[in-house]
Structure formats: structure tokens, C-alpha cells
């Protein structure tokens, strides 16, 4: 994760809000030493034994009292490091101090100045490696301010009170913008440019907006009503959503240009599931994580047969991989009734790319972990269903290019693991579709769309891109950071 230098504008803005009178008074109201003594407010969670049987949200959110207490812990530093860790550059001290002042609605509005999806980010951002990692309080006491939990609190408060503030939109610029893909990046660009008065249409291939937020992240981490609320907010900003429309197939970017669209943002994500190419990988009962999660989150296979789409329930479910998607998949399998839901990961717990919170929640919920293990081949029953998986044990060697120690197979350590459901969650590659059908769009060697990282501009005039499509599998917030850069540049492009 790169920690960006703050832009001069943002620095100026932070300094301005820091010097506001009320902020100074608030800083003085409690001595810094006292603030540092306060302990971090725990996020209330549902009991593991209760929550691992349904799809309702695990984290319950801070209440007002806890949020204010947590906000008091923030030292309101003159030189806030946390903002450097935020890919979208939220004025973190300002929104936290507004919570301390119990100005919850203003706090929510503050966040929305730079982040169109705060309720989503407050839930799924890896704050521990971003804003919270750089928090000065962490350096002093080891325990950072719970910035993510506070972000979630402010935006939930605004929604629950039905006081969602819709900013005044300047007069229409009459410029048409096409956003391709309604994932976190696309929604961010849409929000940013709509607020500037551009006419934004979001094109989505699926029948529900949200991209990975809808089909990928399960309800127990990100309930659908949260996403719906964020999408409704964008609609209030004047964003138009065109569902069931595959740009590249239904119409190409060139077709859309002829329809008057002048600027484009491609945020079609890492929509190509990676498989390992093992013998037997196409047996029945072996899913990509994309398919497995889509069946459940988007098509509601957990409510089959009320919903028509089925999914294998599996008694011995195994998920391959160690990232957030793997955690989401294995916890889904557990919730669908698997007797044993197991993660098989080729490195050790320390190297898992998943958020610590997800691993911790999974452990609490009774998920089993097989570390330093890798599948070699799948074994079929007489009906072509997977019944077992041959695995090999691994040991860790020298660090590789990612800085993590390379797993090496231990010869002769093969063993058989009985399984009846396998979810392959070893990552995704950029969605190749748009590149194949858009002449002139420059594609890199991993199938990623190539961009100028300062502007997110692609090789095509007026066409910008960001998120997993250019990065390979990354995070929601990095996609949103790219999107903010792209939106800034697209605005320039449209108005000059």
C-alpha cells in the first residue's frame, strides 16, 4: 500500500479546518494526556454461534455514546498522518471532531465531500493498513483511533435519521459522461461528476447496481440496504443508472460517443476468475469464488427454492486462498450449513492477505484453517462430482516479489482430503471483455488496461479507467481513490 503525499490543496484545506475556532476550543477542552488514556471502543458484534447461521450483519455499529467517546481519543494533530493513508483523502480529523461535538449530521456531510460511499467504506475498508496504521495515537499507545468505525457511525446515523443531505448541484454543464461498471469506482466517479453538474449515466451489465459490492461482498459484511441507500443517494444527485447493458457488446464506446457521451470511465473490475489448472478442476462441485458468491449474494441461492438459482450446500466445504474473498466464501459456506468449512492456504496465517478482522471473525465462527497446504488434483466420484482433493504440504522459503515468503512443496508429503464443495478464491484477473472490443485501448501484459497513473487516462481520448481493471485484484477503496483522480481529470477534460 503506497502512502501518498498530501496534495497542496488538501494540506491547505486541513490547515484551514484545523485552525477553526471551535476546533481549537475542543482541543483545549480535554488535555492530550487524558485523551491518550481513553481506551478504544470495541465494535459490538453478534455472537459467533448465532451469526454463523444467518446472513445478517456481524458488526452492529457503535452507539452515540461510544462514538463520542471514541472521537475523544483523536488528538486532532496539527499534522494528521491518517489522511495520508486514505486513498480518497477524507478530512479525517474534521469529521471525527464533529462527532465529538455531537454534530453527527455535519460529520456525515464532511465525509461525503470526498467520499460518495461512506457507509460502504466504513464497513469494508482495510483501515488497519491505511488511515489507522498511520494514526499518531497508534504510534504513541499502540491503539489507533477507530476511524473506520466512526466513519460508519456518522453515515449510518445520517441514514437512520433519514436526514441524508443532498448537496446543491450547479447548473447542468450539458456534458454527458458514461460510467462503465457500477462498482465502487464507477459509483465514485458518478457521484463526483454529478456534483459538478455533469449528466452521468452508469452502465451495468448485471441487473443490480454495485458490482462487487452487490455480487461479491456478502450481506453479513455489507447488507444490501446499505448499498441501496448509497445508490439512491447518487440517483438524488441526478445520476442515471442503465442496468442490463454491457458496454462493448450492447453498444461500444464508439457507439456511445455517437450518442453524445464525451467522457468515459471504465471500472469493470477484475471480473475474470483465476483457476489453478489442476486435473479435475471442472468436476461438479468446484466453483470460482465469483460464481459461488454471485449465486448467493446476487441470485439469493441461500433462499432456494423460493429463488430459482441453486447452489451446492456442501458438508465438507473447502475454500482455496487467503484473501478477503476466501474469507467471505468460507463464511458463506458455513452459513449455508456446511458441517466443516475449511480454508486451505499455501502459506501460513501471517502471510494471509485478508484483513485481520475477517480472519478473526472466521476463527470465532468455527472456520477451520489448513495452512501450508496446496491442492494438487481433484478426485471424482462415479457421478463426476468432486469427492476428494489431493494436497501437498508446503514450507516457506525466501521472500518473493510481494515480500511474502515463497511457499515450496515438501516432496512426498501428499495426502488426501475429503471434500464435496470447493471454492477457488485465489484471485481474479482484469475483465478482458472491454479490451477485446475497444479498438485502440492499450492493454498491459497482465490483461490490465494501461493508464497514466497521474490522470488515470487510457490510450483513448476522453476515456479513463481505474480500480481492479488496471490494478488486478485490489480493494474497494483503492478503486475509489483511482476514481477520484479520474473524476478530477474528467472534469478538467470536460470543462476546458
Amino acid at each position: 500500500m503506497t502512502k501518498e503525499k498530501l496534495s497542496p490543496e488538501l494540506k491547505k484545506e486541513l490547515k484551514k479546518t484545523f485552525e477553526e475556532e471551535w476546533r481549537e476550543a475542543l482541543r483545549k477542552s480535554i488535555p492530550m494526556k487524558e485523551r491518550m488514556k481513553l481506551s478504544r471502543q470495541d465494535m459490538p458484534e453478534r455472537e459467533p454461534e448465532e451469526r454463523n447461521k444467518d446472513f445478517k450483519e456481524v458488526n452492529q455499529g457503535l452507539d452515540e455514546e461510544a462514538a463520542v467517546k471514541e472521537a475523544m481519543r483523536c488528538l486532532d494533530c496539527a499534522n494528521p498522518q491518517c489522511v495520508k493513508g486514505c486513498p480518497v483523502g477524507i478530512d479525517i480529523p474534521s469529521f471525527i471532531k464533529l462527532i465529538e461535538k455531537k454534530k453527527f449530521l455535519e460529520s456525515a456531510q464532511k465525509i461525503k465531500e470526498t467520499n460518495s460511499l461512506p457507509a460502504v467504506c466504513g464497513r469494508v475498508c482495510p483501515q488497519e493498513t491505511q488511515c489507522e496504521e498511520l494514526c499518531n495515537l497508534k504510534k504513541a499507545t499502540g491503539s489507533p483511533v477507530a476511524i473506520g468505525n466512526l466513519e460508519r457511525f456518522a453515515s449510518d446515523y445520517e441514514r437512520k435519521k433519514e436526514k441524508v443531505h443532498v448537496p446543491k448541484i450547479p447548473a447542468s454543464t450539458e456534458r454527458k459522461v458514461a460510467v462503465i461498471g457500477s462498482g465502487p469506482g464507477g459509483l465514485t466517479v458518478a457521484g463526483e461528476l454529478a456534483r459538478k453538474g455533469h449528466q452521468v449515466t452508469v452502465f451495468e451489465a448485471l441487473h443490480v447496481p454495485g458490482g462487487v459490492l452487490a455480487y461479491g461482498i456478502p450481506e453479513f459484511r455489507l447488507p444490501n440496504y446499505i448499498l441501496d441507500a448509497e445508490v439512491n443517494y447518487l440517483k438524488k444527485l441526478g445520476v442515471e443508472f442503465k442496468m442490463n447493458f454491457v458496454v462493448g457488446m450492447t453498444m461500444t464506446i464508439e457507439d456511445l460517443r455517437k450518442e453524445g457521451y464525451q467522457a468515459f470511465y471504465i471500472g469493470t473490475g477484475a471480473g475474470l476468475p483465476n483457476f489453478m489448472g489442476l486435473p479435475g478442476e471442472n468436476l461438479i462441485g468446484i466453483y470460482s469464488a465469483n460464481e459461488y458468491l454471485t449465486r448467493v449474494n446476487l441470485m439469493r441461492a441461500n433462499q432456494f427454492p423460493e429463488y430459482d438459482t441453486p447452489v451446492f450446500l456442501g458438508e465438507k466445504a473447502v475454500v482455496l486462498g487467503g484473501g478477503n474473498v476466501a474469507m467471505d466464501s468460507v463464511r458463506t459456506a458455513q452459513r449455508l450449513g456446511a458441517k466443516e468449512a475449511t480454508i486451505v492456504y499455501r502459506r501460513s496465517r501471517k502471510e494471509m492477505p485478508s484483513r485481520e478482522e475477517e480472519i478473526h471473525h472466521a476463527e470465532q465462527e468455527g472456520i477451520k484453517f489448513h495452512f501450508l497446504t496446496n491442492p494438487v488434483r481433484y478426485i471424482s466420484d462415479e457421478n463426476n462430482r468432486v469427492k476428494a482433493m489431493e494436497c501437498i504440504q508446503m514450507k516457506l522459503g525466501e521472500p518473493d516479489s510481494s515480500g511474502r515468503r515463497r511457499p515450496i512443496p515438501i516432496e512426498g508429503s501428499e495426502f488426501i482430503m475429503e471434500v464435496d464443495l470447493v471454492v477457488v478464491a485465489i484471485g481474479n484477473s482484469p475483465n478482458p471483455l472491454i479490451g477485446k472490443v475497444t479498438p485502440g485501448l492499450k492493454i498491459g501484459k497482465w490483461g490490465n488496461v494501461e493508464v497514466d497513473w497521474n490522470t488515470m487516462a487510457t490510450s483513448l481520448e476522453g476515456v479513463y479507467a481505474g480500480g481492479d481493471l488496471v490494478r488486478g485484484g485490489a480493494t474497494v477503496i483503492l478503486a475509489m481513490g483511482d476514481a477520484r483522480v479520474a473524476a478530477r481529470e474528467m472534469h478538467k477534460y470536460l470543462t476546458t
Binding site: M249, M251, G271, P305, N383, N431
Partner: protein, 278 residues
């Protein structure tokens, strides 16, 4: 929501549905498909585009009534709305001047192959059509095929036509008597398999339009994956047209039946619910 313009039974168990889809019709080409969702709780199912009308802005699909989704589709009336109709998806069929092309189809594939046969004819090929059905009453669109075919054959087992055998045998006879440069086959998996096997030893290029289970239809989920040659391909974005001699048919057969039990359960549930609603 897209409107249903027409829906009628062509022959017992096979229906056509015409949907208003002005966006889809602009770019759709022979061999492509759409994904439909009959209602908000329905599955996303792929159907080949069997015809289109650019002026009217409509597409037509032909489907066989098999499971819950297709039963739901078969109940649509003109004027109804369908929540999801997205496309055109998949690569278009390869259309070129091959020489003489034989189009071999059965059941829903009779509809699916029609725009390919028509485009091949327009591209200057000699088009021979071979339609397979159990009996005469299961054959539709004969007039359409006769119009675009240089030669038109039917293999049906009820004695109304000259050929009484199942399609591969008839196909072999036709291939013996004619110089054929390419075979296209669309229909149930078994029909496509047997047609591909029939031409294998004769070394005639044979292309099939495959019909595996799909969810998103844009290459995102991988459920439609199957081995073609030694490579795993996604039918939704790498196909659906593939070289029939390279397809791992066994894999396609069993993967298509992945949810056999669930399909029965779904049908029973839906029928009970329907009864309850009456």
C-alpha cells in the same frame, strides 16, 4: 423493463418469444445470445437469438420448455414485461465464404441456427439444411429454411420424410454424396456431439454452438467453463461457437446436469406455489 411483443408455441414444448430490445438489436449478430431472467426471483438463463427485426427493434428467441425458468417464459403474454434481457452476448458465429455449408439442427437449435444459415447464404455459400425431429409435428420454420437453403433435408422417425434415421446417420449419407466444406450443428448436447463424431473421421470442419449453464454471461463467474482442446474456455465469452472436434463432450454432458436434483425440486416448488396462487 423490456416488453414482450409476442410469445407463442411453435410445436409442442417449443416456444418462440419476441422481446422489444432496441439496444440489443443494433449490434446483434448470428450466433450470439441473450440472458433472460423471467422474474425477479428467477435464474439468469442464456437463450440464442433466433431472429431480429431492426425496424421494430425486437429480438426473437426459441426455447424448449424444460425447467422452472423456461416454464415461466412460456407463460408470458404480449404486453407483459420481463425484468432482465441483456445482450447480445458471446462471440458471433464465424461467417465467411466457406463453399458448401451444412447446417444440422434439432429442437430449440432449429431456431438458433436459422440466423447463422441465413448469414451464410448471404455470404455466398451453398447452404444445405438438415433438420432433425422425432416426428413431423415437431418441426417448425420449414418455409423459412426452404427460402434460404439450396437443399433442405429432414430426418424424422415417423415416416413422413425420406430419412428415418437419427441425424448422424443421415448426416453421414449427405456427406458421402456431397462435397461439404463445413458443418454447423446446434441442438441438444447429444445432437451436437453425434454430429461432431459423424464428421470427425471425414475431417470436415464442424462447429457447434454450446449451451452450458451460465450465470452472468460476461465471463465473470466461470460456470460455463469447459475443456476445448487442452484449454479450459468460457463458453460465454470465448464461444459459444467452438470446434466440435475439440470439445470435451463428456465434461459438457455432466456439467450441464450439475443441478439435476435442484431443478426437479425447483419445478415442484414452483408448481405447488402456482396452484396455491390460483
Amino acid at each position: 423493463m423490456p416488453k414482450i411483443l409476442d410469445r407463442k408455441r411453435l410445436v409442442p414444448n417449443i416456444h418462440m418469444i419476441e422481446i422489444s430490445a432496441p439496444d440489443i438489436v443494433k449490434n446483434c449478430k448470428p450466433g450470439q445470445f441473450v440472458i433472460l431472467m423471467p422474474d425477479k426471483k428467477g435464474e439468469r438463463i442464456p437463450l440464442s437469438i433466433a431472429d431480429w427485426n431492426k425496424e421494430k427493434g425486437s429480438i426473437t428467441c426459441v426455447f424448449m420448455v424444460v425447467g422452472t425458468s423456461t416454464h415461466k417464459l412460456a407463460r408470458f403474454q404480449p404486453g407483459d414485461e420481463i425484468p432482465v434481457c441483456v445482450g447480445p452476448l458471446g462471440k458471433p458465429a464465424e461467417i465467411d465464404k466457406f463453399g458448401t455449408v451444412l447446417c444440422a439442427a434439432g429442437c430449440y437449435g432449429i431456431g438458433a441456427i436459422y440466423p447463422i444459415a441465413r448469414a451464410l447464404k448471404e455470404a455466398g455459400n451453398k447452404v444445405m439444411t438438415l433438420i432433425d425431429a422425432k416426428a413431423k409435428y415437431l418441426i417448425f420454420w420449414e418455409d423459412r429454411f426452404k427460402e434460404i437453403s439450396d437443399q433442405y433435408f429432414v430426418s424424422a422417425r415417423d415416416g413422413f420424410y425420406d430419412c428415418k434415421d437419427y441425424i448422424p446417420k443421415v448426416l453421414k449419407e449427405v456427406l458421402k454424396e456431397n462435397k461439404i466444406d463445413r458443418v454447423i450443428s446446434i441442438g441438444c448436447t447429444y445432437l451436437m456431439y453425434t454430429c461432431s463424431e459423424a464428421t470427425r473421421s471425414l475431417n470436415i470442419d464442424t462447429y457447434v454452438n454450446l449451451n452450458p449453464i451460465m450465470v452472468d454471461g460476461t465471463g465473470m463467474c466461470g460456470v460455463c467453463r469447459l475443456k476445448v482442446g487442452e484449454k479450459t474456455r468460457f463458453a460465454c465469452v470465448d464461444g459459444p461457437e467452438f470446434d466440435g472436434h475439440l470439445v470435451d463432450w463428456n465434461e459438457l454432458f455432466y456439467r450441464r446436469k450439475s443441478y439435476f436434483d435442484d431443478e426437479i425440486q425447483s419445478m415442484c416448488y414452483w408448481e405447488r406455489k402456482k396452484k396455491h396462487q390460483k
